[in-house]
Amino acid sequence: MSAAKANKAQPHRSPDGGRIDRGTPLSFRFDGQSYQGYAGDTLASALLANGVKLVGRSFKYHRPRGILSAGVEEPNALVQLRSGARHEPNLRATVAELYDGLEATSQNRWPSLAFDVSAINNVFSAFLGAGFYYKTFMGPTRGAWHFYERIIRKAAGLGTAPTLPDPDRYEKAHAHCDLLVVGGGAAGLAAALTAGRSGARVFLVEQDNELGGALLGEAAGAGLAWATDAASELASLPNVRILTRTTAFGFYDHGVMGLVERVADHLPQPGAHQPRQRLWTLRTKQVVIAAGAHERPLVFGDNDIPGVMLAGAVRRYLHRWAVTPGERATVFANHDEAYRTALDLADAGVAVAAVVDPRPVPGGDLLRALAERGIEHLSNHVVVRARGGRHLLGAEVAALDADGNPTEPTRFISSDLLAMSGGWNPAVQLHAQSGGKPQWDSRLFTFVPGTSKQAERSAGAAAGHMTLASALTDGVSAAGAALEALGHALKPIDLPAVEPEAEAVPAPLWEVYTRKGKRFVDFQHDVTAKDLDQAVREGYRAPEHAKRYTTLGMATDQGKTANVNALEVLARARGEAREKLAQTTFRPPYTPVSLGAFGGRDVLRHYHPIRRTPMHAWHEAQGAVMVETGLWMRPRYYPRGNETLFEAMNRETRHVREKVGMVDVSTLGKIDVQGPDAGEFLNRIYANGFKKLPVGKARYGVMLREDGMVFDDGTCSRLSESHYLVTTTTANAARILSHMEYHLQTCWPDLRVHVASVTDQIAAMAIAGPRSRAVLEKAVEGAEVSNEALPFMGVVHARIAGKPVIIFRISFSGELAYEVAAGADHGLAVWEALMEAGQDSEIMAYGTEAMAVMRIEKGHAAGPELSGQTTAADLGLGKLCSTKKPYIGHRLKERPVTADPHRPALVGLVSLEDNKRIPGGAQLVEDPKAQAPVPMLGYATSPTYSITLNKNIALGLLKDGAERMGTTLYATNPLNNTTVKVEVVSPHFFDPEGKRLHA
């Protein structure tokens, strides 16, 4: 379509002007209807240019809603954008940049925006006042709420959630700066330029797509010209970084600011290699908040009808987008600045019916300016009520009596646009997030920033400086103060000479009382002044109570247009001075942020890092089924043919018991402990003794927590006089290291010991089975591995495949077994060499399932038993705990209940029912048919089928376990309605004398 044609299709677009690119017409669709706009438009400006006024429906009453504002504060014009996996709900049309092919739909309506069945709520609104749901839906039966809730849930909510994974990418960025300037309007530009010229490292962030702030929404003049120059100079400074389309959303402790940069939201979809959004963590030394101000609506009857807009927003549509949002306008305001809207509209050729002002007389020569344009001025008047349905028809106007109360409406002013303004609220959100408490300003009748708690200061309109001239000088002085704190010398900048302008110093008028129509305070959540009145009357007088009772300020706009008006209404209803009321707390984010931005790249399989052992590729090549074990991937079993897990587990177990197998145990935690006092240190860390462990020997050890419960277990080997190697369970590796470091650095700094994690540096494999020695003998160079040279619990240094290794004769399986440790780089070579050497012995790799079977058969406690709820005695390790030396946990394990001999203790359980397995987590009871509460004696911790014994067995923890040996109990699993009769036996099912591992 040609540019001329495009313009013709937009009945409310002025023929010239605006910061739009008329050479780039764009097509878009709203609710299926095609429209035209221009590059530079927002969805809202483009809709208004096309004369579309009805954009959405309100939350509760489903009232027709249009476009109120021209910025992030928009409560009404929420739409859904894009479709399929890129569907996004609840987007403010006022900040959605137009792109060619944009598709938006209205939300919260059925079947259509124009005809919404739920609008019936509006008719019954008298029943649906504040907190109505707390007073009903309780009957007739107890479950009544369950019934009503489903209906209410469907009616509530706004847009629909996407159902498909987001195809776009998000990134995270990190940076430091001396000064962050939030906001690229007049004050922000002045601050950034001042600081930039002075050499400070500056970040300037602007949520809009270009710098300029409010100046972009005014008639061109010296201010905008200066801003354009300032922006280009800033862009040229190497020490200044400008981020547009970027919101500083959260001010956290110690100057940390969260930013979200919308890299590609203005495009149909992100370009190749481009993220959709980028989350910045910015560490600042100083912050200047020049975030501007939000205009206040006025509270009068039916002030939500499409066509009622904020006066400043009207001006912004006019100047920035060359859009005239109406044909005949009325302005209702309590301060001078809003008169500019009337004047600018008139100058743009829009008929302005009247300016309605509760004050007797405006400032300056505004009356003359109105008269020159033939605009009627109604002083001492208010708009009592707007009239219309899906769009505005006009306003009922009334004079104020001597007490300032509205009289009966005397006039109806026909208009399709009502521009209102009750003054401006500085954007104090970031200041409040930083810990500051906004203060009431009795001149502006609003809140301004209070005392700073962090290194931040507000500037410009955000600090209550509402004219251009004052914002500019305030920006410079804020930067000056920040530079002084940073120790930078200030280099002055030239500010433009700007004409004096009408200032937004409002008269104290927030609401106009009327019995007709609804007087909305919070548009999106349909909270009216009457609701607030009712809340106060019902005792919800505290601002937080009133807010929560009415849901005021809790919508997607977080009350940006509602909060200050609400406090006024509350103060009036409470009969108290407004100064006594504090605002409810501002919380991050300043405006809503996509969850995806916080996730960055850590999504799907990348959620957490994946740890792989040095032999990982080998396992995969052998077809191993891998399993997540914490962050690690471990081979679970190596299926052959169509083998099931159960079959493979049995095959691998039997093979190890009869021949030889090898399993990757690299994931076990390994900690190197060195120093002259290493033995003494380990004596304190472990419950059993290690100081006298001979060099070249390993020992099983158990560690307690300080509260006397078992922390972890593993082996510890003495490699030399002052050098030990500790192994931990896979799960506890990091915790044990920190635990050791804690005690060394905070309790026993006199001990000459260093500890270091070597988990990632060492590859480890366990080779187990009657033929394991034969395999080693073939593979090992430089050491003897005979029973005499390397007895049980012996340790030797040797070489395999030419690589240095340490061989530990230790066994988790109960078989003759060894663990071989090699440098991580050599892990695969050593593994393969052992596999090669083991060919004659029919060596076979086995996975964690077979490993678990064998440790259960052997009665070794592991993860399910080391639950943090068991003592050493519970696990049959009581005798291991030294009585000759103190150690961590030695004292508290003596507490009466901790030392109680009747505590659940480790036992073995054997299923007495053929082919019936004992479910893990089955509870042990005497009478499975007893009524609840059933006394529970213990539970099955680790169950398995033992092919070695051809029995279904389990380890368990059982009260008075030792005394119950040989008795029968029931392992009951009511979750699955199953119960197994079990016999209580020793946990050492297999080779209890340990003949095999000593062989």
């Binding site: 707390y134 991050p588 009511p974």
Partner: protein
Amino acid sequence: MTHYSIFSLVKGALCGPGAWSPAWREPEPKAEYDVVIVGAGGHGLATAYYLAKEHGITNVAVLEKGYLGGGNTGRNTTIVRSNYLLDGNAHLYEWSMKLWENLSHDLNYNVMFSQRGVLNLAHSDAQMDAFRRRGNSMRLNGIDAELLDREGVRAMVPHLNFEDARFPIYGGLLQPRGGTARHDAVAWGFARAADSRGIDIIQNCEVTGIRREGNRVTGVETSRGFIGAKKIGIAVAGNSSRLAAMAGLRLPMESHLLQAFVSEALKPVIDTVVTYGAHHFYVSQSDKGSLVFGGDLDGYNSYAQRGNLPVVEDVITAGLSLFPNLSRVKLLRHWGGVMDMSMDGSPIIGKLPVEGLYLNGGWCYGGFKATPGSGWVFAHTIANDQPHPINEPLSLERFETGAVLDEKGAGPVPGHH
């Protein structure tokens, strides 16, 4: 007091706001009370309510330093469940659950108790075993529990990540009777019901000291003067240590910061409460449509009620790993509450070693669901000067005896529970 019903709504509609009376009075404090409860959160208000209802003790004041329900009652993620493993906890939370089930009627205030189910996801066989242990223990204690396999989970929560998850879903433990309630309504409903039974709720009244004669309490110093009390119940979770310190006591707890999050409102997309098994994350959808979620503690002692960015990222990332479809949904607001993190992760409800002084605290981040049950047993404890059998195991002495209630086995590290 106006009785709430559909008829009262009709009357309200016809007569306007004037038809409604205050939900509670704003009385001046009396010189002395039989019982002073410190803290007008859900627990304190419930205690007062049950003192009046169950024990006929109505000369009671509930003192609140700010506005009632302004602490953790109004900051939590509203989850109600009784899916506990250890007997000492299970009986308390299940008793609470039973009270929840009739609470709206009992209080004549719709607390919107929604039994939409609480589903704990499992991500390994070991976790399935652990859930089976817990679920079986629940069943044997007379509490509802179901174990779902992967397909059972999929049928309930279809948008979970079943395709490309770092920690695949193996199944889950479901408590069908669990769910959510409207947190503010719980505080307001108890306040209104307690007030109607003659209890004084005194807001903007901060306790600054506990006065004793010998080893017996005589009253509290407050920002509104001294108030005499024969018995004092502390129900100020988050600040329990500060109150105990006023009586010269130390407690086995640290105050930690927990953040909570809401998204913008959406049409229904998650119909149950879901918790992650591979990381700390839980989510439900409010009746208004917001996703309400949370996760780990910030991890350091704090009374600040405002948290930091790393945990925000951490929690949301965990959520997205479960629900990759929610990436384009927007975070609306996040805030912080102060938790009494006890040394074994379980609450302390019982007598303190000063006569007439009682503690209800140490709730970690699980206090909301206990509100009615906790108030009920605490009222019993105060009225009879001895604990009810339900809260006997929750005594302060358990740390000395070793009878700790460590559901997770995390040990005496408050931040790990």
